[in-house]
């Protein structure tokens, strides 16, 4: 599937229009002041627009538009810091459920009826293959033991896809967080989004909880991570563009020494350098999204490069925005701090430059 440029424009405009009205930066600010997380009713409206089914086929209530479409929506979300479980539920869990035949829950997340989170990380750095959590066979089902940390949108999730080691290798389990033995601790994070640490103590799972095992599980997980990285990167491109544009506007407006800041070459060159970084990042992210939709062999590499690059660029964009705004950039009243917090979280989640750089060098025999 490859979107035509008119379709891209349509998706982008539709997302921008909707989010301007329903989920601008001020909405995140209000959400933060009332405890963080996201507005579930608003998520329902997003689902009504088909956003949570972009990576699902029609039988699962999806619209099957692909990663590129999801990336366009994510970029607009990044520009406005719109809070929703789009990436966790609508993108990553959707990809897992599609690959593993979990059609009933796929339909529920596509319609916005349910939120399905992904419990992948156990350490402070993203290492999806470092899994100490175990699922031991017991009768027709499994007993789950272990802990997952920083589960994005985990506190308000109706189901959580958990990675655990079984006798037959990796297993993916769809776990009801209300089950006995599951402890969920909601985290208060810098970006004010929903996140939770989960503990599993002898949690009894029935056989139906198993989504996939062994190679099939690995393939489904890899697929979800791949799409997740590319879409998260698109969100960071949105953050970066918004910060750069706001900063350039401010440089033209703010006067010191009797002239606008935009006249100072030291600032012009920094703004221009940031612009080139964003252009490069935008191209890398677009290439990753497209490679995923085309099923290209390069998709894995490109999604990792996109994630690493987008993290670096978003970090640069928010730092430059703050410095070039000067003192006012430090105030909570201005939005830059909110973007900075989002950029930090987004760069860390699903792996940073070191994580993916390490993978890249291993691929090259270094």
């Amino acid at each position: 599937m490859r979107l035509m440029s008119e379709e891209q424009t349509m998706i982008r405009d539709m997302a921008a229009g909707f989010l301007d009205e329903k989920a601008p930066v001020d909405a995140l600010r209000k959400q933060r002041d009332s405890g963080g997380g996201y507005d579930r009713a608003l998520m329902g409206e997003m689902a009504d627009m088909g956003w949570f089914g972009m990576l699902l086929d029609e039988e699962s209530g999806g619209v099957d538009m692909g990663a590129e479409a999801a990336g366009l929506v994510a970029e607009e979300m990044g520009r406005r810091l719109s809070a929703s479980p789009f990436l966790s539920s609508g993108v990553m869990s959707a990809v897992v459920l599609r690959a593993t035949g979990g059609a009933d829950w796929a339909a529920k997340l596509a319609s916005g009826e349910a939120v399905v989170a992904m419990a992948i990380d156990e350490r402070v750095k993203h290492r999806p293959d470092a899994i100490a959590t175990t699922a031991e066979k017991s009768g027709n089902g499994f007993v789950l033991n272990g802990a997952k940390r920083f589960v994005s949108d985990g506190a308000g999730a109706d189901r959580v896809i958990v990675t655990a080691m079984t006798e037959d290798g990796l297993g993916l389990f769809l776990v009801d967080p209300g089950l006995e033995g599951v402890q969920s601790r909601a985290l208060k994070t810098v970006d004010s989004r929903d996140a939770a640490d989960l503990r599993f103590d002898n949690v009894q799972l029935d056989g139906a909880a198993l989504l996939a095992m062994g190679d099939a599980a690995q393939e489904a997980l890899d697929g979800a991570l791949r799409v997740g990285r590319a879409v998260a990167s698109a969100e960071m491109v949105g953050v970066s563009k918004e910060m750069a544009e706001r900063t350039n506007a401010y440089l033209k407006e703010r006067k010191q020494f009797g002239i606008a800041l935009s006249n100072f070459q030291a600032l012009q060159h920094r703004a221009a350098d940031l612009y080139t970084q964003i252009q490069t990042t935008d191209a890398a992210v677009a290439a990753a999204l497209r490679a995923i939709d085309e099923g290209s062999d390069d998709a894995e590499l490109l999604s990792r490069v996109a994630k690493a690059k987008a993290g670096k660029t978003a970090s640069l964009a928010v730092r430059e925005a703050l410095q070039m705004h000067g003192g006012i950039g430090m105030t909570d009243a201005l939005d830059i701090g909110l973007f900075m917090k989002k950029a930090r979280a987004c760069a860390e989640y699903l792996g940073d430059g070191e994580c993916h750089g390490d993978w890249l060098l291993r691929q090259r025999g270094l």
């Binding site: 350039n248 033209k252 070459q265 080139t276 890398a284 390490d358 270094l366």
Partner: protein
Amino acid sequence: MTDLQEFRAETRAWLEENCPKEMRQPMSEADVCWGGRNWVFQSKAQEQWLERMAARGWTVPTWPEAYGGAGLSGDEDRVLKEEMARISARPPLQSFGIWMLGPALLEFGSEEQKRHYLPQIARGEVRWCQGYSEPGAGSDLASLQTKGVDCGEYFEVSGQKIWTSYADKADWIFCLVRTEPEAAKHKGISFLLFDMTSPGVSTSPIQLISGSSPFCETFFDSVKVPKDQIVGERGTGWTIAKYLLTHEREMIGATDSALFGSDDLVEVARDALGVDDQGRLDDPILRGRIADFLIDEIAFDAELARAKSWIRAGKQLGAESATLKYTGTELNKRRQELIMAAGGLAALEWDFADAAGDEKASLWLRSKGNSIEGGTSEVMLSILSKAALELG
């Protein structure tokens, strides 16, 4: 089978049949075929390869057939390049005629000029050089002072150019000359073509820190240039120069870009430093720097591919060319620094070279000029801040 698939199949078969095996080897700078009146082919294979490709119009595949090209579409050109890359076929001919003058003539030349000059370029018969910079006109190129005095039938050109690439080996020069001394700075320049063997032309190579001498100082002492050797109207040379500079930036930004990361850097690092028992490069801090670089480089590869697809779709790159030039040259400087760091003490020997025979220290030193020639990085940032961001 679509037309394009058919074209690919034919191209593949033809290349298989016609590309000599010596021309399917990695190429160092010394192996480039530049052509020209005084060109001495390094091998029979090099000569054959040029003849065969020129006969097909494939030295300049997208130029119209009437001017020595093959009239290929953007997609066909891409297929040809992919098929050449598939068998590691060397470019049969490289030249400033192909890269610079050709595009300028196609855009601004008269029909007679196109029919006269372009086929000579396509066949590698005439080697061109570019007369732009002057000792007093570097980043501020439009302040150039080489003058062309109107003497009726001809202009009499006097002055000095510098950084003229391969002027000592070129047959002809395309040159920016001030022919309208009364006009404003940007409106008084004309784009002239003339033979380097004309009386009054002399050149002198400049030795660079890298040890090589690709550039010259070029002197003009009352050189007579017939008036039909002007491209475009009098006083419009700056427009052509700007068009070509944009073109040049795309080229410089695009050179040395290996798809999906530098093999040369990876090779040097592995060979010189070795790996630990985990299979990781045995220098964790340098390894981190290399990883950081490769991420930027691969992201830039994606940007280049996107720019190329825009060009194929007939879009003008505009300010984007400054992004490519700035990013590409800064990355190449970083790559060469990392290669030297990875090579360590061994890289200090002049003959520390790669499989193609290019000396690493020389490439490292030469790369420092990348962000100066064709418009400095600082000029690129100024262009972007004005054209793309409307600052200042």
